[in-house]
């Protein structure tokens, strides 16, 4: 699993069979200082997360197992949980850092 920060959401109307109820979020992988590595990923997500949230995610075929209601769907990145606290190299990473200009997370947790 890796550390990431949610930067946005994504809507795709026409999708492969079985992906109908899968929510998609944009995700930035983080380095050990909590800074974006420059990559941008689209992740499947069964949690209510919004822009700025610190999460952990899994890649590869295990991502398909992270969705509770779907047994097999074609996803290769999935958010596996919120991070409540991340202490790396002796310092806490900022937990909720809304990217500039992004809408705040909807209060639906």
């Amino acid at each position: 699993m890796y550390l990431g920060r949610v930067t946005g959401r994504l809507v795709a109307t026409v999708r492969y069979e079985g992906m109908d109820n899968v929510k998609l979020q944009l995700l930035e992988p983080l380095d050990e200082a909590g800074k974006p590595t420059g990559e941008q990923l689209v992740a499947a997500c069964a949690l209510s997360v919004g822009p700025g949230d610190l999460v952990h995610y899994i890649d590869g075929r295990e991502a398909a197992l992270a969705l509770p209601d779907e047994t097999f769907v074609p996803v290769d990145v999935a958010i596996t949980g919120f991070v409540e606290q991340a202490h790396v190299n002796g310092a806490d990473l900022p937990l909720d850092l809304a990217p500039e200009g992004a809408p705040q997370a909807e209060g639906q947790r």
Partner: protein, 102 residues
């Protein structure tokens, strides 16, 4: 399996992945045998041996092995800490020794 240094801890509720319930999540930095970091992204690994910050550990990054260790057939888990590294020797040269004063 890869070598990694434990550099931090992560606290996360396990609602999404019940197999993580009660498991310690550690932030690990993949390293070369001599200790140089590999890549910019640290990994979050599930601890199975009682590792802590500062330890050099052995990490698996394969889901089938991970699910067997946790006895969780459908869990989305992949990265697990499964051993401490005591020493590493390459071509007869000791490049890492846990017991050596640093």
């Amino acid at each position: 399996m890869i070598l990694a240094d434990v550099i931090g801890t992560v606290v996360s509720p396990s609602v999404q992945v019940p197999a993580l319930d009660g498991r310690k999540l550690l932030v690990v930095r993949p390293v070369q045998p001599e200790g140089a970091p590999v890549g910019p992204k640290p990994r979050i690994a599930i601890d199975t041996i009682g590792a802590g910050v500062g330890d050099r550990v052995l990490v698996i990054d394969e889901g089938n092995a991970g699910r067997q260790i946790l006895s969780a057939p459908n869990a989305p888990v992949k990265t697990l800490i499964i051993g401490f590294v005591d020493e590493v020797e390459i071509d007869g040269r000791r490049v890492y020794d846990h017991g050596a004063p640093s």
